[in-house]
Amino acid sequence: MTGQPTWRSVEADVDIPPLPKVATTRMLVEWAGASGDFNPVHYDMSFSRAYGVDGPIVQGALKRQWLIQLITDWMGDEGTLKKFSCKYRTVDYPRNMKTVDEPEDGETWLCKGKIKKKYESNGEPLVECAVWVENGKGEVTTEGKATVVLPR
């Protein structure tokens, strides 16, 4: 975190500090438990193959939540997330676990964002940002948009 941004201080085309994430099989199960979404495609090998993918896939909603964290980390305690939307473009596969709490080497995802515009609406100082998740190859697997109220 780099301190509380203000509406005056931010400019369009400026990048939001990226947030690295590593998805692991363990994390997918943790997310299933925390979110209540127990679709077996996220933890069962034969079920996910029958579904048409190569193995358990990362929950879209977990990637959504990564992107929400990207924005809330950046906007600070005085910022307010007003709108958020995202679309899941393609699947991601988690890293397997090497030990109980350590993942195998492999892919690291990067949550990224860019300020698209700042404007006022109904007297509110607003900032619109593009956000996306890049996989280890630099491909965008999830993309979205966030609208934030910042202190002036």
Binding site: A34, S35, N39, G60, I68, Q69, T72, E78, F84, K87
Partner: protein, 165 residues
Amino acid sequence: MLPEEVKNLVGKVLSTSKFEVEKQSIKRFAEAVGDKNPLYRDEEYARKSRYGSIIAPPGFISSVWFWEDTSGQTPETTALKSTGLLGLMLTLAEAGYPNIIDSGIDYEFFHPVRAGDTLKSTVVIKDIRERKSEEGNLVFLITDTSYTNENGDEVAKTRWTTIHR
């Protein structure tokens, strides 16, 4: 084939449910994301913030779909396997669309969600339609959900799109 009774759900309230926002569920949710924001876990920190108490991360409310308690309610139509959104999805599975693809979500946030809140959610079917594709028919389901807190304030609304094949 999509049962006619299911198609007729468009525009209707599918379910309403109540959900208690517990401190421990917020913490577990934030931990599952790897989000260390003290507003979600540190009471002292949250008390001194402009919120005055622990809040839930934006997006936490989507868990209501999966935890919703619709016991005592009857399904909207006899075509549904059970109540609520999961009941509709199970019905789609039986109708030949067992695989769920989460396509994306839109949120509008109006008020913070606090630990201790009791949220009421109302799920409305915005659209449900079949489309042909080369790999067989797909069902596009669009669900609008509104969340209000115990003061009657709408805290958020969402539009969720899933594809069933």
